[in-house]
């Protein structure tokens, strides 16, 4: 059980995705605590750069080249290649890993789900923290939209853990880079592949919110798409990303990729600055674990006033620019 694997995901530039650096840091600490080993696995059409990045966090990395990943969805390829590696290593407890960790983003979830049924292993999802106790990982997670925190463990067998962004701060191993083994499996695919016909970058695609340290977010109170100009300006001066409520997304003021809440994304930034957001439960579940919540709202009785750290009762179109001016003069 004490041998851990980390699945490294590729970022948009071909290097290691930030979430994978965090997962690797977490896994290395667990392996230290368990007195076990930790290995990284990167699967891709060109995994070399990401594998080299991962080797700055882990003592051993396996780079799996599969050229089909260039124009096919990654999850089925990665799940199948990793399942084969586990079998080749002798299976769980016989040289193979007892636990596999991966990020909880879209690709990580897809791989974890497929790998679970291929290996017959359980999955613990959305870990906000993992410790090693009694010979296995104990996983803390937030469920029912943050209304409960549970700790869970595997029932004696091996398992897969998906890890949320921000569970730990990424930190290199500090020593010499780990070894990298490169392999190029030739086994015919068993899982059906999904072709990627095109990768489309949309104009105005905003900074991703899941890993942002600061999020400035807008809701119905912005009154229209122009209100997001102010949100964007505040995000720029704070070095943060722009978020939104479902109402603002449904109204077409901003893209769904920025939506925070029950059917959008769950975030845990250091600062969540909410403009014109009432704080309905569907939004609250996506942001209530932010370290600091500051809200600007005209209505002192809005639900957000009950769980924000600081609430300004006032007109966001007056208070917002005033905050912007003070922040700009500070940083300028």
């Amino acid at each position: 059980m004490a041998d851990l694997w980390v699945i490294g995901e590729l970022g948009p530039d071909g290097g290691l995705a930030h979430i994978s650096a965090e997962v690797a840091t977490l896994a290395r600490r667990l392996a230290d605590a368990a007195g076990g080993s930790v290995t990284g696995v990167v699967v891709g059409a060109a995994p070399e750069t990401a594998a080299a990045d991962l080797a700055t966090y882990l003592p051993r990395v396996v780079a799996v080249t599969d050229s089909s990943a260039a124009d096919h969805a990654w999850a089925a390829i990665a799940a199948e290649r990793i399942a084969a590696l586990v079998a080749d290593a002798g299976g769980a407890g016989n040289g193979g890993p007892g636990c596999i960790l991966i990020g909880s983003g879209p690709d990580g979830r897809d791989v974890a789900g497929m790998l679970s049924v291929l290996l017959g292993w359980g999955v613990l999802v959305n870990a906000t923290g993992v410790e090693w106790q009694d010979g296995g990982p104990v996983v803390e997670m937030s469920v029912f939209g943050g209304k409960l925190i549970t700790t869970s463990a595997f029932a004696g067998g091996p398992g897969i853990v998906t890890v949320r962004p921000g569970a730990v701060t990424a930190e290199g191993s500090g020593g010499a880079a780990g070894t990298i083994e490169s392999i190029a499996p030739t086994a015919e695919p068993a899982l059906p592949r999904v072709a990627v016909v095109d990768r489309v970058a949309e104009a105005g695609a905003a900074a991703p919110i899941e890993e942002a340290r600061i999020i400035v977010s807008g809701g119905r109170g912005l009154g229209g798409p122009d209100g997001f100009t102010l949100v964007q300006q505040l995000a720029d001066v704070l070095g943060g990303a722009v978020g939104a409520t479902r109402a603002a997304v449904d109204a077409g003021w901003i893209s769904y990729s920025q939506q925070i809440g029950q059917t959008g994304k769950i975030v845990k930034p250091q600062l969540y600055l909410a403009l014109g957001i009432s704080g309905a439960i569907q939004h609250k579940v996506g942001m209530q674990t932010a370290e600091t919540i500051v809200a600007v709202n005209r209505d002192p009785d809005a639900p957000i006033a009950e769980f924000a750290d600081l609430v300004v009762v006032g007109d966001l179109f007056q208070v917002g620019p005033a905050i912007l001016e003070r922040l700009s003069s500070r940083s300028g």
Binding site: P12, A73, A76, A79, P106, R109, D110, A112, G113, M114, S116, V117, L118, G122, V123, L124, V125, N126, F144, G145, L148, I149, T150, T151, S152, A153, F154, A155, L191, P192, V194, A195, V196, V197, V200, A201, A205, R246, D250, Y256, Q262, T263, G264, L271, I281, V285, T292, P300, A305, F307, D309, L310, V311, V312, V313, G314, Q318, V319, I323, R330
Partner: protein, 259 residues
């Protein structure tokens, strides 16, 4: 074919776990999982355009037909409810195995599922079902375009910078997001019609799974402990002129070393 899950109503805020670490379903009213409603809406639009019908599939406790009726009222044609006492305490692996077994008996061109659920929210069941069935999995869909002549389906998968255009042969399983469009409200006519629509019940024996391979006894994970998150500190309320308020906000952020 749409996979739907009854989840505790997030607005009721009554979720709690029983002594066995399982959800106390009696304590919290159930609703259709929100992302599943987007999947159903997408299915209803596809059927309106291309023909065919929509079947719902749920693996859930005995009260599931009540929540399924609401989905039937939106326009689905029939439901299949997998229910068995042995399923209490199922993990995601069991759930994927049971849904896949139920789907093997049903001829569907497209299987639609919500990207994740509002209770556990792992998003791992649908890809597991696809892998067990050996069908392509197209996830995080913001648009679904089947080509019945070619027998393929194209899906826009939301990416960090825009979208990836995916294509695969049908049958396929699609993970659905809110970007597919607002779910319709059931009409009065729909609500009346839903009362007489068929909800077939399947047990584990019906699915050939009554061998202990799934369900609570086969669970691979266990809840060790649960607790309420720590309460947040009291809210500081700021009034005053915009400039005074802004000064206070900036000082607060500096005090917390955020800026």
């Amino acid at each position: 074919m749409v996979l739907v899950k009854p989840v505790p109503d997030p607005a009721a805020a009554a979720e709690r776990l029983g002594p066995d670490g399982r959800l106390d379903r009696a304590a919290s009213p159930a609703v259709v999982n929100a992302n599943d409603e987007y999947a159903l809406e997408a299915a209803l639009k596809l059927v309106a355009e291309h023909g065919g019908d929509v079947t719902l599939l749920s693996m859930a406790a005995g009260s599931a037909p009540e929540t399924m009726r609401k989905a039937l009222a939106m326009g689905a044609d029939r439901g299949v409810h997998v229910m068995d006492p042995a399923l209490a305490g199922s993990d995601t692996l069991s759930t994927a195995r049971v849904l896949a077994a139920a789907l093997r008996d049903i001829q569907a061109d497209l299987i639609l599922a919500g990207a994740d659920t509002s209770d556990g929210g792992g998003g791992v069941v649908a890809p597991g079902v696809a892998a067990l069935l050996g069908v392509p999995y197209l996830s995080y869909a913001s648009k679904i375009e089947p080509d019945p002549v070619a027998g393929t389906v194209r899906v826009r998968r939301i990416s960090p910078t825009g979208y990836d255009l995916l294509e695969a042969p049908m049958p396929a399983l699609i993970g659905c997001t809110q970007a597919l469009g607002e779910p319709r409200y059931p009409s009065l006519k729909g609500i009346m019609a839903a009362r007489s629509k068929e909800i077939a019940t399947r047990t584990l024996a019906d699915l050939g799974l009554a061998d202990g391979s799934v369900g609570g006894s086969a669970a691979t994970t266990r809840v060790v402990d649960s607790r309420k998150p720590p309460a947040r500190a009291a809210t500081r309320v700021v009034r005053g002129t915009p400039d005074e308020a802004a000064a206070e906000v900036v000082a607060f952020l500096a005090e917390r070393r955020i800026i």
